[in-house]
Amino acid sequence: MKCNFCEHRCDLTKGKSFCGMYRDEGGSAVEVYPDRWCTYSASRVESVPFYHAWPGSRSMIIGTAGCNFRCKYCSNAFIACRNPADVQDVMVEFPAEKLVAMAKKLGCHNIIFNVNEPAVSLPSLMRVKEYAEKEDIPMGCLTNGYTTEESTLMLADIFSFVHVGLKGFTNKFYREYVGIHNIDPILRNIYTLSQHCHVEIASPVIENVNDHELVDIAEFICDIDPDIPWHVFRLLPEHDMKEFKYPNIERINQVLEASRKFLPYIYFHNFVGSNWVNTLCPECGAVVIKRFSLGCSGDRLDEFLAPGNICSNCGTQIAMLGTKVAWNEKRKKEGV
């Protein structure tokens, strides 16, 4: 019996899935640890980072355990790359209804799954979606995109905004640094997701390893939709890559400059104080959204200068899911 949630398509009759989160029960893949979450906290949507979905909003960040990738630079390896059985003592159990109630208690506008890979917990997330929908709480996630065609559609059903990690552009990179052999399903799924929901893409850049692939990635994104925002992350050397050097910021940005001509929403960050986190109008170049970059998981909105998602300078529409949401909007609605 094969698991159909991700492209590993693990044979569950031989035991648990690669991610350690699914097992066989009567011929179906079922979750080993349903409704168990490693975190629930309020954060800024920009910190995830989503730059073109509900700017300024308060998000409840959630995650589970386990992953179907083994990225050598994983920042969350202590929870994502360990056997889920070994980290159950840090998890909290929330049935879907209670998790959504917690999002309301925290005054959150949306719920975002971003610690590990959502494909390892899709049935739990499907249940959360049912309650979130009733409460008018949109859901978003970060995914590595290595899902089957069927589960990609499940992702698109659960999440109205999705951030896909496109970590390189060759099988060689994915083989050496991620642990999978074929990039094709990821490219396929980016296209599928872009047809169903809001998509942003992130690519970590490792100097002398995948920096020569940046233009190819930009062209690939542009061919799907030039309005897709692309976040280029400076590698934060962590996990098995602690000894790698930090990529040269000026040099990487020079490479990106050429791509900005055809892909207008390119951001270069994941380091404190970046100059390249503002949104510029693709038509006239005016700054329409200002942000602070406080490094990995720390970005925040400074000023939203495009009321109605329209550039105040030239009237061009800025690609956006939803529009600016005041941080305390939910609280104000509740009269708190």
Binding site: T39, V92, Y246, V272, N275, D302, W327, N328, V336
Partner: protein, 394 residues
């Protein structure tokens, strides 16, 4: 105006500290600090060389700025022992090494030391998971002893009482009692934060227990601070009984001494020299955990648990009005800190992230910029660039 210089390795940027907007400034002191930053890359919170980075950076600043007052914090051993379980001999070596690092700094610099430990650690006995309350429990990454309870139901209060009977919670204090308790000793204490966002009740854990709530870390702690009602101090400048006397001790001796105030986090009496002494770290049942309240107590001479109250619903603050984007949860520069109105030169260096520049009121600070143990780089803040030392006046 205070200037922040961010160093992300091979690359720097300058910002107005308050607004976070880019700011050019080519004052010689600013350029000097930039150079010191670029020479000293922070190796990371878990790296064995993290404390030596503090000493080396401070010595580089001393060579070029000649301050009379130096404030340092050494924290690597606290981060490491909080998250990982080391064999006793390795752990002890870590604590002895940080004390050696502190005394080595004193020997090289020639400054008169005031070395303060934040107190020892104990193994985590258990976590109290308060995620399922009808109300909302809020603790923080670095707090173990204190947890805020918002909007509790009767069932929630029953649950807390049951944890008290189990010997895991020491006491449950209402907001009014808590404020009254601190104000009884310090009637003029101001509460700068929004009282409405303070918890309705403060739950206080028994030693060895910690809370699991919104705001606590993904990483389960291995060791947590003891209830350090007294903490060790080493200084030849004279004995003090209370952490609140540190400010006066330092300021009153600065005329005749160059002083290094050194905090060693997670370090208890056992690792201090025999001729050190203990001083009080909080009134009554309240003791400061390593963190903002501890630093502010010795820097301002007052206990200020309300500078950032335990269990505070900071996520309900109006984000649009918050300034100081590079200063963590701090929303204003604290008043009456150690060096804020000191006319001599002062610096601070530490591996307490996004912290040192707010806590001591020094002219120049350099600190690591880390989040959740991830190393983002370093930040320097130049609060005051126009002071002249004795040599400069000649």
């Amino acid at each position: 105006m205070s200037l922040a210089i961010i160093d992300a390795r091979q690359w720097q940027n300058r910002f107005d500290l308050e607004s976070g907007r880019k700011q050019d400034d080519d004052h010689p002191v600013v350029d000097m600090v930039s150079k010191v930053l670029s020479w000293n890359h922070y190796p990371g919170d878990m790296d064995d060389r993290a404390n030596q980075w503090v000493s080396r950076t401070a010595l580089d600043l001393i060579d070029r700025y000649e301050p009379n007052l130096v404030c340092l914090s050494f924290v690597q051993q606290f981060f490491a022992n909080r998250h990982f379980d080391y064999p006793p001999d390795v752990r002890d070596k870590m604590f002895f090494t940080v004390m050696e690092d502190a005394f080595k700094f004193i020997a090289i610099s020639g400054y008169t030391p005031v070395i303060i430990g934040t107190g020892g650690l104990v193994p985590l006995k258990g976590e109290m998971n308060l995620s399922g309350l009808d109300g909302l429990a809020v603790s923080s990454n670095w707090s173990a002893r204190y947890c805020g309870i918002h909007w509790p139901s009767l069932a929630d209060m029953d649950l807390l009482e049951s944890l008290k009977h189990l010997g895991q919670i020491e006491r449950i204090v209402s907001k009014a009692e808590w404020i009254q308790f601190v104000k009884a000793e310090q009637p003029d204490l101001k509460i700068h934060q929004d009282i409405a966002l303070m918890p309705d009740f403060l739950a206080v854990a028994q030693q060895g227990f910690a809370f699991k709530t919104v705001g606590t870390t993904l990483r389960k702690p291995v060791n947590i601070p003891e209830n350090n009602f007294k903490v060790p101090v080493y200084t030849p400048l004279g004995k003090i009984d209370d952490l609140r006397q540190v400010k006066h001790l330092v300021r009153s001796n600065l005329e005749h001494h160059k002083i290094a105030l050194i905090l060693v986090e997670g370090v208890g009496k056992h690792f201090f020299p025999d001729n050190s002494f203990m001083c009080s770290n909080g009134p009554g049942w309240f003791c400061n955990e390593p963190g903002d309240a501890f630093y502010l107590t010795l820097s301002t001479g007052k206990h200020d648990p309300f500078a950032y109250p335990a269990g505070y619903r900071s996520f309900d603050q109006d984000a649009e009005t918050i300034k100081f984007p590079f200063s963590g949860y701090m929303t204003s520069i604290p008043e009456n800190t150690l060096a804020l109105d000191y006319s001599g030169k002062s610096i601070a260096v530490g591996n307490r992230s996004m912290f040192m520049h707010m806590m001591f009121g020094v002219d120049i600070s350099i600190e690591c910029f880390a989040r959740n143990l991830f190393n983002q780089g370093c930040m320097a803040v130049v609060h005051n660039r126009d002071k002249k030392g004795k040599g400069d006046e000649r």
